[in-house]
């Protein structure tokens, strides 16, 4: 696979044969800029924990989960949370956070994130569009450029948790974010799936992607995992786990299953209305699942930090 336009192997690796960019990469035109790396490092120095939310499969609830993770972590007012949406073609975060129509402001120290709460700031290409229906029809290199700008030019300030919501797939956005964030430290990735095999087969690829780029996997979240009828309380499997669901996949691939979240129509409604589902439906079994998962992620990050400090 592509060694990365910024890597020493750019244009020279076996995988580069036949790539239309090969000449450009080999000539060093896309080579790493040490000044840029230093700039990113400086900007992200005040970020304590970074969590990437990935899938491989579309429509499984990455953005929903990213938004709720952000809300969940920001419930502790002493923590500063940042939510970065790098889904350039389909940015869902502004709507889910109730921030549609907001614009990004420039200050002396860079772009200012849009704040949902005092301790919860958000950035997304959605804020840069003149109309929410404008299509962003960009090829990879232009998307990469914007992602770099998000990391370099946004003045996040001191951040306890940076959550990065990604689009489906294993392509430019994913390679770029891992590359650019190597200037700082990524605690790990949370991988979201739904129970059916058609989702799992894409998620296995994502797990392999993480292993290839040496991105630690915090664990897997299985969304849309069963539905309990509010009237008769009967449970149905709307997306039957025909091959054992996330549980079996996690066992086979030796990754942690962080939790299963049942379907709750209120989740979609809250997202559409830009409200926190956790706040709107505190009694829902889905809320309980989400809260448990968020706590496990927090524990993972805190423990990680502790171990790092021990080593240092």
């Amino acid at each position: 696979e592509c060694p990365g336009t910024g890597s020493a192997q750019a244009g020279r690796a076996a995988a580069c044969q036949g790539c239309p960019n090969q000449g450009l990469c080999a000539a060093g035109a896309a080579g790493p800029d040490p000044a840029e790396a230093a700039e990113l490092r400086a900007r992200l120095r005040a970020v304590r924990h970074t969590v990437l939310v990935l899938s491989g499969k579309g429509g499984v609830g990455k953005s929903t989960f990213s938004a709720l993770l952000a809300h969940g972590l920001a419930a502790d007012e002493t923590k500063q949370v940042a939510l970065l949406d790098i889904d350039i073609c389909g940015p869902s975060i502004p709507k889910m956070m109730g921030l549609e129509g907001e614009q990004v402001h420039q200050s002396g120290s860079g772009w200012s994130p849009v704040y949902v709460e005092e301790n919860l700031g958000v950035m997304s290409v959605g804020f840069l569009l003149s109309s929410p229906d404008d299509a962003v029809i960009w090829r990879g290199p232009k998307k990469n450029g914007l992602i770099k700008q998000f990391l370099r030019d946004v003045d996040w300030g001191e951040v306890d948790y940076l959550i990065v919501d990604t689009p489906p797939g294993t392509s430019d956005e994913h390679l770029s974010i891992v590359q650019y964030l190597s200037a700082t430290h990524i605690d790990g990735a949370v991988i979201v799936t739904t129970p059916q095999e058609v989702s799992l087969q894409d998620v296995r690829k994502e797990i392999n992607f993480c292993r290839k780029v040496k991105l630690p996997i915090i664990g897997v979240v299985e969304n849309m995992s069963g539905f309990v009828c509010p009237k008769c309380k009967n449970e149905s499997q709307i997306f039957p786990p025909t091959t054992g669901g996330a549980e079996k996949m996690c066992q086979n691939l030796n990754v942690s299953l962080l939790g299963k979240v049942p379907l709750d129509p209120q989740i979609g409604k809250s997202c559409d209305r830009g409200q926190s589902f956790l706040a709107e439906a505190p009694e829902s079994p889905a809320t309980l699942s989400y809260r448990n998962i968020i706590q496990r992620i927090q524990e993972y990050c805190e423990q990680h930090h502790f171990q790092e400090e021990k080593i240092m």
Binding site: K57, G59, A135, R139, P168, G169, D202
Partner: protein
């Protein structure tokens, strides 16, 4: 003419299945549409240009198939009850099904151009093109590569929210 000798010369109509949003059922609809058209007696092909998450092979139970070359290019895999639906997907080119295709745009573009022009489709009434979510490299390249041919149009798939 050159057009007559291309692999798409025998294809009467090309249909793109798009969404923008992921997980709404593009691949599912592409598959069901192909099966329904076949049932109605049409000659059908499916081109799966979702390079990162190819779902069509599994949906038609051919995830373990391999593709071969002939003089005019790649031979599609024939699927369906009467093995009469022609399918091409990157899924068939992976050594192992869990291998991630971790390619940047330029490499994806090169493969899509090949998929469009180098598959020996033969005579088809309908070629259904299943796409990944988004409006990026795959979509731009597919539309550009198909522009000289009979693009019937696009079907957009969504869910209610």
């Amino acid at each position: 003419t050159l057009a007559e000798r291309t692999n798409l010369a025998g294809v009467r109509h090309i249909l793109l299945v798009l969404s923008g949003k992921g997980g709404v059922g593009k691949s599912t609809i592409s598959t069901e549409l192909a099966l329904a058209l076949r049932n109605a007696g049409k000659r059908v092909g499916i081109l799966d240009v979702d390079l990162c998450g190819p779902s069509i092979p599994r949906m038609l139970r051919v995830q373990d198939s391999a593709v071969h070359q002939c003089d005019s290019g790649w031979v599609p895999v024939f699927v369906g009850q009467d093995k009469a639906i022609a399918l091409m997907s990157i899924g068939f080119l992976l050594e192992r099904p869990d291998d991630a295709v971790v390619w940047r745009g330029p490499k994806k573009n090169a493969l899509i151009k090949q998929f469009v022009t180098d598959v020996a489709w033969g005579d088809l009434d309908f070629l259904i093109v299943d796409t990944p979510p988004g409006t990026s490299d795959e979509h731009i390249s597919t539309v550009e590569a198909l522009r000289p041919y009979q693009l019937l149009g696009a079907i957009l798939v969504t869910t209610p929210q």
